[in-house]
C-alpha cells in the first residue's frame, strides 16, 4: 500500500510546494506536514498529492554509512573465507 516517493522542494508558495522527482515536477499540498521550517532543497515524501514527511538527511547519511561499512566488512569476510577456506558466520 501507500506508494510514496521522495521529491525535492523547488519552491514553496503558502501551503503548496513545487516538488521534483527526477525532472518531473508536481505541486504538492503541505496541509499534512508542519512546514514552517521547510525550505527549498529539502526532500519530502509525497503520497496522493500531499507531502507526508520530511526526509531526515542525517539519518539517511547514517544509513548509507552503515551500508558502506557493511560492504567493506563483507568484502573482507569474503577474502578471509577464501584464504582460510572456512565459512565464517
Amino acid at each position: 500500500m501507500c506508494l510514496s516517493i521522495p521529491a525535492r522542494i523547488e519552491e514553496i508558495d503558502g501551503d503548496t510546494a513545487n516538488c521534483s522527482v527526477g525532472t518531473a515536477t508536481y505541486n504538492a499540498s503541505l496541509h499534512l506536514i508542519s512546514h514552517e521550517e521547510l525550505k527549498v532543497g529539502d526532500y519530502v515524501l509525497i503520497h496522493t498529492g500531499f507531502a507526508i514527511q520530511k526526509l531526515d538527511e542525517e539519518e539517511a547519511i547514517e544509513t548509507l554509512k552503515t551500508f558502506e561499512e557493511f560492504k567493506s566488512l563483507n568484502e573482507s569476510l569474503d577474502q578471509e573465507e577464501k584464504e582460510t577456506n572456512q565459512r565464517i558466520v
Binding site: 500500500m1 501507500c2 506508494l3 510514496s4 516517493i5 521522495p6 525535492r8 522527482v21 527526477g22 499540498s29 496541509h31 499534512l32 506536514i33 508542519s34 526532500y43 515524501l45 503520497h47 496522493t48 498529492g49 500531499f50 507526508i52 514527511q53 526526509l55 531526515d56 538527511e57 539519518e59 539517511a60 547514517e62 544509513t63 548509507l64 551500508f67 557493511f70 560492504k71 563483507n74 568484502e75 569476510l77 569474503d78 565459512r87 565464517i88 558466520v89
Partner: protein
C-alpha cells in the same frame, strides 16, 4: 534521483543477501504486511536473492484486496445516480462487484474519473457545481489523512457538492488478529508509510503479547534486504522487538499534524476485512459533524445483495494460510484480465503477484 538511487545499489543489495545467507540458520516466514512492499519485492525480484531459509509471505496490506464487495456494489450504485461524478484512485476501477465493476459502469455511461489526489476531486467539484462529486476513500493510515484534509478544505472553501465514501482502515487490529488466528509467521516487515504517519508505537504490543519482532521498513530493495537481515538477527538471537529500519522517514512519534487532521475528521469503528471478518475499531468513519461530506449520509441508494464468488480463496490467502495455487479458480478462471477475487485485481495482491512470478 536522490534518496532513491542509492537505495537501489546492486553491490549493497548483494552484500546484504550474502549476509542474510550467513546469519540465517532456521527456516522462517516473514510477513510483509504492506502491499507496497509486495510490489517492491516483485519489481526488484528479491525472492530470487534470498536463501531457502527465508520465505516472504504477503499480508492483508492491500486496501483494494481487503475492501468488501458490498463497498464496490454501493460505489456502483452511487455511480448510477443522476448528476453524480465518482472520483477514485486507479486501484479500484477494475475490482469486481457482485455483478459489475466501476470500469464496466464507466463503459455504460457513468461519470467515473480517475484521480491522483483527493485535491483533483475537489477541483472537479468546484468546476461542476451542478454535479455531486463522490470520492472513494480507500487506504490505510497513510492515505486517510489526505481524505481528512480534503474534507476540511471542502468545508473551508465552501464546496458543498463534495463527499467522501470512506472505506479507510487502520493496520494494527489486522496484524494482531492474524497472529490470534494462528497464522504461522516468525516476524513482521512493518509498513513504512503507515508508520510515517502513526509512528512506531502502534506495534509495541506485538513483541510483548505475541513474541514477534516488527521491523519497519522502507520500500527500496536495500531497505527491504536490510529489514530482512534485522529480523533474521532478532530471530536467531531470540530478541524480538520493534525496530525502525526506515529511520530517514519514520519517527517514533510519527507525523503529529497528519494524526491530528485524521482525528479531526475520523473516528474509529468496527469494520469488515476480507479474510478476517469484522475487526473491532479497525475502520475509520467520518465524524457526525462532517455528515455533510459523508456520502453515506447524504445520498440514498438501493444496493444489490452481495454475491461472493464461489470457490474464491482470497480470504485464506490474505491470512497467509493458503497459497494462490491452492485455489481452484487461480490461473484458469481467475486471471489478471478476468479477476474473480480482489487478490487478483490489485497488482500488489498476492494472487496477481503469484501469477506474474510462478505461472
Amino acid at each position: 534521483m536522490k534518496y532513491i538511487d542509492e537505495y537501489r545499489d546492486r553491490e549493497t543489495v548483494l552484500a546484504l543477501a550474502e549476509e542474510i545467507k550467513r546469519q540465517s540458520t532456521k527456516p522462517i516466514k516473514l510477513m510483509e504486511v504492506c502491499g507496497g512492499h509486495t510490489m517492491s519485492i516483485q519489481k526488484f525480484g528479491l525472492p530470487y536473492l534470498l536463501p531457502e531459509t527465508v520465505e516472504l509471505i504477503s499480508g492483508p496490506g492491500c486496501p483494494v484486496c481487503v475492501t468488501s464487495r458490498s463497498y464496490i456494489d454501493q460505489a456502483i450504485a452511487y455511480s448510477r445516480l443522476d448528476d453524480v461524478i465518482i472520483t477514485t484512485y486507479g486501484d479500484l476501477i477494475r475490482v469486481p462487484g457482485s455483478s459489475s465493476s466501476l470500469e464496466q459502469e464507466r463503459a455504460n455511461g457513468a461519470n467515473i474519473q480517475i484521480v491522483y489526489s483527493i485535491l483533483d476531486a475537489l477541483k472537479l467539484a468546484k468546476a461542476n457545481r451542478d454535479k455531486k462529486v463522490v470520492f472513494l476513500g480507500i487506504g490505510f493510515e497513510t492515505t486517510a489523512p489526505s481524505s481528512a484534509a480534503g474534507i476540511i478544505q471542502a468545508q473551508m472553501a465552501g464546496i458543498n457538492n463534495f463527499s467522501v465514501y470512506s472505506a479507510h482502515k487502520v493496520m494494527p487490529p489486522a496484524m494482531a488478529t492474524l497472529i490470534d488466528e494462528g497464522v504461522e509467521i516468525d516476524g513482521y516487515i512493518g509498513p513504512g508509510h503507515v508508520s510515517t504517519i502513526t509512528g512506531s508505537g502502534i506495534y509495541m504490543d506485538i513483541p510483548k503479547k505475541f513474541g514477534l519482532g516488527v521491523v519497519i521498513s522502507g520500500f527500496e530493495p536495500v531497505d527491504l534486504m536490510q529489514s530482512v537481515l534485522m529480523l533474521v538477527k532478532q530471530i536467531e538471537n531470540d530478541d524480538q522487538k520493534v525496530e525502525i529500519q526506515y529511520t530517514r522517514v519514520v519517527k517514533p512519534e510519527g507525523n503529529v499534524k497528519a494524526q491530528e487532521t485524521l482525528d479531526e475528521v475520523f473516528e474509529y469503528g468496527d469494520d469488515w476485512w476480507r479474510g478476517l471478518g469484522v475487526l473491532e475499531n479497525s475502520g475509520l468513519k467520518i465524524r457526525a459533524q462532517y455528515d455533510k461530506y459523508n456520502t453515506e449520509k447524504i445520498l440514498d441508494v438501493t444496493v444489490e445483495p452481495t454475491k461472493e464468488p464461489k470457490g474464491c480463496l482470497c480470504g485464506e490467502i490474505l491470512r497467509g494460510v493458503k497459497k494462490p495455487k491452492d485455489c481452484k479458480l487461480f490461473g484458469n478462471v481467475c486471471t489478471p484480465s478476468n479477476p474473480i477475487g480482489a487478490c487478483m485485481v490489485s497488482s500488489e495482491g498476492s494472487c496477481a503477484a503469484y501469477y506474474m512470478y510462478n505461472r
